[in-house]
Amino acid sequence: MDLKQYIDLAYIVASILFIFGIKMLGNAATARKGNLLSAVGMLIAMVATLFYKEVVDYKLILAGVAIGTVIGWVWAVRVQMTGMPELVALFNGFGGLASVLVGWAEFEFGKNTDPVTQIAIYSAILIGGVTFTGSFVAYLKLAGKMSGRPTLFPGQKAVNAVLFVALLVLGVVYVMQGSAWALYAIIILSLALGVLGVLPIGGGDMPVIIAFLNSFSGLAGAAAGFVILNKVLIVAGCLVGTSGIILTIIMCKAMNRTFGNVLFGGFGAAGGPAGKAVEGEMKGVSIEDAYYVLEAAQNVVFVPGYGMAVAQAQHAVKELGSLLEKNGAEVRFAIHPVAGRMPGHMNVLLAEADVPYEQLCEMDAVNPTMNQVDVVMIIGANDVVNPAAADDPSSPIYGMPIINAHEARTVFALKRGKGSGFSGLENALFFRENCRMIYGDAKETITGLVAQFKG
């Protein structure tokens, strides 16, 4: 056996570790170990690669690895849990850009100019480029450096379509001729497509788009694997690509929308069906009055949403939950799959605040028991509790599975102002007889309630 075969064997070991790693990540008891296993797989794949006889310049490699490691390390250790969605988006984008550069570098070396390699270079650059700028726009939106609302302009769909067709034509030109100008044009246009593709996507749809971009970054890696004819890239990239697609499908189902609708819907922008006008008025309640109701409650359910993340109210919420429990109430947290800005966003925040694992319930577990619930506390959630999704066929969110908060005896909705949710909809729940609004910053409101319990 020559050296190359030993390297391939090491790649097989790495692939097995990735497979087990991903499998174990899907189970709460083994997730942490799974993550570690896949990290070991990555290390093995990297070290094995250094043994290729073509690799001669170790100094530059070490410098690159050191710089990247330090930057990644510092960011990962310093990030607040509330900043998690944007950091994941940013990391994802870097992976995409790395695949672009790998494809580009292979073009510069010009070792293989057969059509298959050219197609692979094209795919790596196209998918990687879209992943990079798409993730970067998502990062800007999530970090609040850019409006989370869908950005729409006239002729947007036409521009995107032209861009897409141009990329296809350039791809054909590039594969046939291998010309540099075509490649540079492809790089620029893929970057543009990523920006324009994510601009029209609103904050509430972010869980879907982040899962999708994650899948794309894997596929970009797999494409890069075809460029350099490397099996471990193909296996690992493909695994990430497919698991990302599964997550994307889960997110779409949780909103009862197709992926195409998320991508091209421009949800929440002006126009489109608005659903039935809601009659009645929203009734406010003071913190003191809310306290008396909570104090008597035997069964309380919290429904967190993005507003809890914005207000950073998770620790206060946890404290209120503990006080309610001490007061003899059963306390649960009902978590909608698309609450927040990334898949599982609320779980991460509540885990950070040390909310007991057993109290975190999925939507399907809570809904059947909702008529026994005394008080539902809605903390910055909106569309995921809008009963119009269940009973108003003219509503744009009709058919989306919701947490049936309206079936509880009393609903307290914590909200900053009278505005509507990401979809731009009035929430029919807030107008119901059993619902009372507590206006103001969620953290201050909860802290106020905590003070009442202690005082």
Binding site: M81, V88, A222, I228, L229, K231, I246, L247, H345
Partner: protein, 94 residues
């Protein structure tokens, strides 16, 4: 061409495997699964190492160098952040 068919074979099998691997994921693991698999997508670092390690082709080499940095941020940051998150989940076990 033989190599290519073999690689396509690998790709297709990996795709089916990927779909089978995680069918039922509890929602509290959605974020760790995403950021953990995100770290794996940094595997493109292998391609970057090969591009950067060569002697010839000055410009391509520097592209590889930049790719190493970016992919390593993705890899190290992704694994660490996932571990941090899962560490928080674990505390509930007691």
């Amino acid at each position: 061409m033989d190599t290519l068919v073999l690689l396509l074979f690998v790709f297709v099998l990996a795709a089916f495997l990927g779909f089978e691997l995680i069918q039922k994921v509890p929602s509290q693991l959605h974020t760790p699964l995403m950021s953990g698999s995100n770290a794996i997508s940094g595997i493109t670092v292998v391609g970057a190492l090969l591009a950067c390690g060569v002697a010839e082709g000055e410009f391509g080499k520097w592209l590889g160098f930049a790719a190493i940095i970016l992919a390593m941020i993705n890899v190290v940051g992704g694994y660490l952040v996932t571990d941090r998150m899962l560490g928080m989940f674990k505390k509930k076990g007691k």
